[in-house]
Symmetry: C2
Subunit: 491 residues, 2 copies
């Protein structure tokens, strides 16, 4: 067997393990009965342990070295091996027992978090948060970091970024965002438009959402849409991508934009090379690139005039109460801005303020400038500074997100990177006249083709910044996003 | 680590692998998108291979031997070890490559079967059936058998039984059944009663079914009910039991009896000791015992006068069109008998004739008295001999069942064993006055407690025949079932 074949065989074994874990994880979020959690945690821990053993094995390392010694001459293969090496080096820093512990803890913590969130009981969650921090700290120390432990965690989700780099990008953004948000909120208040009252029946929402998802290119034979409290997208195999959403019969746009968001993630996953499943060439580049795809389809496409020129009449067919609305009024409704407490419900104008708050808090936790018991007060204080109000309880405050329970410290900043990337990529795509013309009339095939070529196909053979540079000709930056927000919310 | 602890650890690892495969299998039957099948087949093959390696490993064998050498003095532990040894001996007969091939073939064959069944295209399915037979033949040869290859396959599902023993049990049954069925069908035809026309809305069926499932003791916090074309029950963890059913808005009894049937399986699974998950002490004894539980709840409870005295008024609340029906007429409706082509839709009076046909056909296939290409003609011939009609196509004939595609040759006879066992067990349970009185008034807690003690708790520490003997004081036999059918259909 050639070393390429051996490498491919090892990769397939690792991909089998990780995709099996993804399938069990999907089931845990969608259908797992209450009493099934303990065993599921055990299964996931075991799978993560075996996966870790495979991707850190001597055989893996040797075969990878041999493949690198032969130095393939195409950029894609080189990028693939380079990223495999980076992942191997990071993975070998962690003992299997730590990986299994992290997985098992995450299952338990997610379960505890759900109860604590329901009861707004931070004290019940605090011991889990402490242990989650401890495990992430240990990982950070084992990985090493240029400047501060939090950098090592950021590297997991956004290779090549650091706290300092994000700080440089985020600080001026924060100031501009506050002003944009304030004015956007004031304008929405003055216009006072509301969606006509429900019900928007769930069955009609499902039919409408599926039609929209298919029309933007999501392949429902290689994926599905289920219902969960917390929408997400996950890939269970090379051609099996699952989206979830939630339904509110008072507001069909909630599930619709949820589906467009997750379908944006799903289009990225469906655009990755199935033949390279399990290798960087068939994997997403980073969460910041992933989120750029969800935000692009949700906000740049889904909240645009061109989209609704085509889809509002279709929506009226499903939801007759929309009939009296003009297109302008409908657009004003879906461009409303306000001071909600919940990140996932936040509009574009305020969303990133929620992220900057979390970035700052996480960084302070890992610098030991903030202790677990002070998290609720610090959260509420920061929220007040950004929004001028205080969450009335922790369910609407520091208990609202699942990420910490997944061990996902360093994950939040990628949402804002995604917003910035989305604006930059969408602007570049519209630079192609063919894409611009078709997008204007709600034909998204050229836009998707552009994204396939410039963002999806490279997988993780390029760095996130490399993808943005390659696709847009510029470094990742905040300007395009601020321009987009000003045009949409202050024009 | 003591050898008991080592054994437990190995058992947990094997149980993790097999329950993970069960979870992926459940997803394959419920939600897997069309293009996800190939990868799923790969995952399942890999998991079955690793499971097989674990349960046939030197470590497993050594630890099991050590545990047996210490010869525990309680019957349960002894039975557990004895059955582990039997399973180990059988498993070590098969090379891992054969197990992986069988699993992977089964995934592909199920997929091909679904298409062939839809199109009534036996020729498209025949190559799969040939390969399935070849793999099962190879297994049989490796396992060995007393008399004929089919015996080795029967042993998989019903330890301790043989073709000859089934022949002895089934031959007189067949003759009696034909007479009972003929008269039952004629009586139904004469009475000519029909369920009032639908719609019986699916949502109302779901609510009613869930209430019934819970009332007989199925724990919905340790399980769930989903929708599939082919109803089944599977256990994904010690306390995670999934049922499925299908809905027909013209006839609510179809999903209801489906749920009661699967909940019967589920009650058995929920009654197995969770601490012994992965060992015979926490596993079902055989399919014939399993099916006795589903049939007991579906037919002996679910189609009884006592049950409907309580539940018919509740059903009327969900389905007002039932209001004019008398209890007697309703019972006559659910005791109808006819000559349908489809086994899973067959009534009690005709069901076992469908099984005897399959038993005979499978046995001839494995004796090489019947070739694959002659299966459709042989099926139709045998069906005509039993029912006096011929299936108009193979969808309604030899392509109707999924079992062969699962590699499940030898599985069908356990359905009839289940019917016989159910009648025998239900009769014995009613021998306890407390059970009889409560059951009469639709309080099933004493019946369930009796089954827990006499059937569920032993798990596979006793043989199937041992369980029947222990619970009823008699050898497994057909008389109780024939008495039950005569009382219900000919009285």
């Amino acid at each position: 067997m050639s070393s390429d074949d051996r490498l491919r065989q090892l990769v397939l074994e690792a991909a089998t393990l990780s995709s099996t874990a993804s399938a069990l994880g999907w089931d845990q979020e969608t259908y797992l009965p209450e009493k099934g959690y303990d065993w599921r945690a055990r299964q996931l821990a075991w799978l993560s342990g075996r996966h870790h053993e495979t991707v850190t094995s001597q055989a893996w390392g040797d075969t990878l070295s041999e493949a690198m010694d032969r130095a393939p001459d195409d950029e894609r293969s080189l990028g693939n091996l380079r990223e495999m090496k980076r992942r191997f080096d990071r993975a070998t820093c962690l003992p299997t027992a730590l990986v299994e512990r992290a997985t098992e803890l995450s299952s338990r913590a997610k379960h505890a978090w759900a109860a604590a969130r329901r009861d707004s009981d931070f004290a019940a969650y605090a011991p889990f948060l402490r242990e989650l921090l401890e495990v992430s700290r240990e990982k950070a120390e084992r990985w090493g970091y240029p400047d501060e432990p939090y950098d090592a965690l950021l590297e997991t989700y956004e290779p090549g970024t650091t706290s300092a780099a994000l700080d440089t990008l985020f600080r001026p953004l924060g100031e501009s965002l506050s002003r944009i948000a304030e004015e956007a909120i004031e304008r929405s208040r003055r216009r006072g438009l509301e969606l006509p009252p429900g019900p928007y029946p769930q069955a009609a929402q499902m039919a409408f959402n599926a039609a929209v998802a298919q029309s933007i290119g999501f392949d429902l034979e290689a994926g599905r849409i289920d219902t969960t409290t917390h929408p997400f997208c996950t890939r269970l195999g090379p051609t099996d991508v699952r989206l979830t959403t939630r339904y509110n019969e008072d507001d069909f746009t909630s599930s619709l934009f949820g589906v467009m968001h997750e379908a944006g993630h799903g289009l990225y996953e469906q655009g990755l090379s199935p033949e390279d499943f399990g290798m960087p060439a068939g994997d997403s580049a980073s969460l910041g690139i992933h989120e750029s795809q969800s935000r692009l389809w949700e906000n740049h496409v889904g909240r645009s005039r061109g989209f609704w020129q085509h889809w509002l009449p279709v929506a009226v067919g499903h939801f007759p109460q929309l009939a009296p609305l003009s297109l302008d009024d409908f657009l004003a409704i879906i461009h409303r801005s306000d001071r909600g407490f919940i990140r996932v419900d936040a509009d574009e104008a305020t969303y990133d303020l929620h992220i900057l708050l979390r970035f700052d808090l996480e960084r302070r936790l890992f610098r030991s400038e903030l202790s677990v018991e002070d998290v609720p007060a610090a959260w509420n204080e920061a929220f007040h500074a950004s929004f001028g109000t205080r969450p009335p309880n922790d369910t609407l405050g520091c208990l609202q997100d699942i990420h910490w329970s997944m061990g996902g410290f360093g994950y939040f900043p990628t949402y804002t990177l995604g917003n910035l990337n989305a604006s930059q990529l969408f602007g570049a795509a519209l630079g192609c006249p063919e894409v611009a013309t078709a997008t204007e009339s709600a034909d998204y095939a050229p836009l998707l083709a552009w994204l396939r070529e410039n963002v999806h196909q490279p997988g993780a053979t390029r760095t996130p910044a490399g993808i943005i540079r390659g696709a847009t000709g510029s470094e990742p930056a905040a300007e395009a996003h601020l321009r987009h927000l000003r045009a949409r919310y202050l024009a």
